[in-house]
Amino acid sequence: MSVLVEKADLSLKYIAHYNKVKETLFEGSPDVLNAQRKKAFQDFVMQGIPTNKNEKYKYTNLHPHFLPNFSFIHQKEAQKTDPNAIFHCDVPQLDSYVKTTTNGWFNESKTEGDLPEGVILESLEKMMKEQPGLVEKYYAKIAKSDTDAMVALNTAFAKDGYFLYVPKNVVCEQPIQLINFLEAPKDSFVTQRNLVVLEQGADVKLILCDHTLNLNRYLCNAVTEIFVGENANLDYYTLQNQHNRTANISSVFVQQERDSVVTSHTSSFHGGLIRNNMEFVLNGENTEANVFGMAFLDKKQHVDNFTQIIHKKPNGRSNQVYKNVLDNEATGAFSGLIHVVRDAQNTNAFQQNNNLLLSDTATMQTKPQLIIDADDVKCSHGATVGQIDEEALFYLRARGINEDKARLMMMNAFMHEVVRKISVEALRDRIDELVERRLNGEVAKCHECAYQCEV
């Protein structure tokens, strides 16, 4: 009973906080944001923080992560340090156009190079004020607060994030990189809201890196809405490398129009709790969605990849591959859904989740699902939980490779199937290297971070 009270109290705590800071939230915020805020808050009150009883959160208990007494960052703070000064991206040969955010706020900074004409990469708040017409028709259209409590909470607290706009038929040759930092003087609750719009025929590669820059505890609740126009092409890479005191809840909603192709690729190297929601709606004919992910989990980390691919129109293709390596007391979860709506004929949908357990105290829970309401489809899914193939291991050892090395080779090979899906060569090489070092135990700590924050 006391647990129940505590759980109710926990949602109440966030509800009370909203009421306390309501004026600050509305004040100075663009109308587009404020227009959704009240309803979103009500939606959150109705739903509360999801518990394990919620089928979508069956494998992830959010409650301990909402317990700390977080401070909130509802107003933009003057940047104390230039992130670029203490951090540089060390992906060799990656020639990208870089912008950063801190605690969910977009940093105005000078960036080398230029974006193609008409391409906008800016603060969402700023763009909402300057060009509300451009943003309004997309904001909060596919991230629904009435069915998703985390979206509701995000929309209620949303102030800023990044906005990327690629006009019709513009091809960005140079990848765009966005580095999201968490760096606050106290344990903090961070809300980030992003919006990506690709007009017809646009083509862009977006690389997102999530990092923590100090030892404080964080809960980051990010929501990204992505609209992909006809015949547009988006590559969406995410590298998650945060410390073990961070809970990162990221919800990405993608709506694809006909003939478009989206490839998303999530590499989770580190984090206390990582929850990635990926919802794809294939809203036009002949669309393609590729959704890949991999995670390395040790200590008491938890990674939960939650995907939904909804085939609404005929001739669509989707392909999901998620792989996890789990050690120590880590817990992993995968929940993937392929939903083929009636009349979405000639759909090809494939889903695969493979997991390696390296210790007896690690746990993997997986739930691949198919909901098929059309008949002319080819849908399949597979899930495995197991170990390295002992026969293959023996084969390698029989050729004179020592066991540790052989194991490493096998794990590398296991992960490589996902790594090789990355089309940006410099990034692929870098991730390959990171995988190897991660498996080797060399990067047991946040490798990029100046702080020795391992806990």
Partner: protein, 487 residues
């Protein structure tokens, strides 16, 4: 062209046969001994009293009822379940049904046609259609003959009520041990109000010399709405148990909530096969049985084995997950299923395999076939506990769609908690192969027959697990259940 018309006519005819038969003659008056409708503690006490049960049974029922009162009807399945008014049911009725007809000549010929298509022997047809069975085939005498053979081996096989009276120590020891009273809403309801069922005990070292089938089939048409089965196989014993019947089952009760419990001791093996063909409702989706069944086996002893094989073609709603708890080291669980849904039928079925002992193995083979406007879901859980070292599971769940108005869904849950176990799950969904149908057509085989052949081929892996004579009937049943499903 001409042939097509003829075929359509034939389809229609067959359709009428398979669908319409339920309308005839099945309104059976339950004559005597009905207690008032509704469910409360007094009713439970009354049921127990009328059955003359010992106190432990009453306590079992009351405990279940208390738990049930606090429970809610599950809503997690991929089913649209119309509201069921549990207070409008009478929970005790002595099943004294009188024969409806004097001879088979009075029975609707179309129904008999269906029976013949299924190859059901004449005597059994009479029984199923509600014709008075002649003296030689009287189920009492059949029962006696079987009982003698079984008694020689020390096998106990009797009605549940009889077991409660004659073997209370065995019932007390094992009842509710595989399916606890509070397991789920329907199991709790069954535990509180179950009318009767079967009890089977195979002593140490005994292989049951016959498949416990014929007896049961004869008996099946009279089993109640809340049926309870308990099978206990002692060390080194073996039994193959058959439930159900390929013939369309008549029943006035809309809700069915049965419980089956199996317990196997060291090195014992139980094979449990089911063919379920309850009334599925008409072509418009009106009527039909709601079938909410809890079936679970516990492999309590080392190296013991439980295998479930089911062919599900009937019922408007099927909610059923025959499961194995693999407690003993080296124990083995199997689930083999063919579920076919047509018209407006809904099925949410699958299995649970809980690995607790070391070196435990489980296999799940599920073949779903959807036709008409039906929804057919596989739902399963494979859980490997930390102590279940070196365990192994393989699951294969395939779905076949026969048209674009039906649905096929797959919801597996996998939970692994040690590093030495391997769990694999595979699932595919596909349409019936147009090229396969054409190939058969080109050899002179019509589309209807071709689809029947292909579907049977698709389900073969599972049908092969059925006892021989059951398998033959099941094949015919699949073919029959599909008739008229091809547009």
């Amino acid at each position: 062209m001409e042939r097509k018309v003829a075929m359509e006519e034939q389809n229609k005819l067959l359709n009428d046969v398979t669908q319409a038969d339920y309308k005839y003659g099945f309104v059976t008056d339950i004559e005597t001994d009905i207690i008032e409708k509704g469910l409360n503690e007094d009713i439970i006490r009354l049921i127990s009293k009328k059955k003359g049960e010992p106190e432990f049974m009453l306590n079992f029922r009351l405990e279940a009822f208390k738990k049930w009162e606090k429970m809610e009807m599950p809503d997690w399945a991929y089913l649209k379940i119309p509201p069921i008014d549990l207070q409008s049911i009478s929970y005790y009725a002595a099943p004294k049904k009188q024969p409806k007809y004097e001879s088979l000549d009075e029975v609707d010929p179309e129904l008999l046609d269906t029976f013949n298509k299924l190859g059901i022997p004449v005597e059994e047809q009479k029984h199923l259609a509600g014709v008075a069975v002649d003296v030689v085939m009287d189920s009492v005498s059949v029962k006696t003959t079987f009982k003698e053979t079984l008694a020689e081996k020390g096998i106990i096989f009797c009605s549940f009520s009889e077991a409660v009276k004659e073997h209370p120590e065995l019932v007390k020891k094992y009842l509710g041990k595989a399916v606890p009273v509070s397991d789920n809403y329907f199991a709790a309801l069954n535990s509180a109000v179950f009318s009767d069922g079967s009890f089977c005990y195979i002593p140490k070292g005994v292989r049951c010399p016959m498949e416990l089938s014929t007896y049961f089939r004869i008996n099946a048409a009279n089993t109640g709405q809340f049926e309870r089965t308990l099978i206990v196989a002692d060390d080194d014993s073996y039994v193959s148990y058959l439930e159900g019947c390929t013939a369309p089952m008549r029943d006035e009760n809309q809700l069915h909530a049965a419980v089956v419990e199996i317990i196997t001791m060291d090195r014992a093996e139980v094979k449990y096969s089911t063919v379920q063909n309850w009334y599925p409702g008409n072509k418009e989706g009106v009527g039909g049985i709601y079938n909410f069944v809890t079936k679970r086996g516990v492999c309590r002893g080392v190296s013991s084995k439980i295998s479930w094989t089911q062919v599900e073609t009937g019922s408007a709603i099927t909610w059923k997950y025959p499961s194995c708890i693999l407690l003993g080291d080296n124990s083995v669980g199997e689930f083999n299923s063919v579920a076919l849904t047509n018209n407006f039928q809904q099925a949410d079925t699958g299995s649970k395999m809980i690995h607790i002992g070391k070196n435990t193995k489980s296999t799940i083979i599920s073949k779903g076939i959807s036709a008409g406007r039906s929804d057919n879901s596989y739902r399963g859980l494979v859980k490997v506990m930390p102590g279940a070292k070196n365990s192994r599971n393989f699951s294969q769940c395939d779905s076949l769609l026969l048209n674009d108005t039906c649905g096929a869904h797959t919801f597996p849950y996998i939970d692994v908690r040690n590093k030495s176990s391997v769990v694999e799950h595979e699932a595919t969904t596909s349409k019936i192969g147009e090229d396969q149908i054409f190939y058969c057509n080109q050899r002179g085989i019509d589309t209807e027959t071709a689809i029947g052949m292909i579907v049977n081929g698709y389900a073969k892996e599972v049908l092969n697990k059925l006892p021989m004579e059951f398998a033959v009937e099941a094949q015919k049943l699949l073919q029959l259940s599909l008739e008229g499903s091809v547009g």
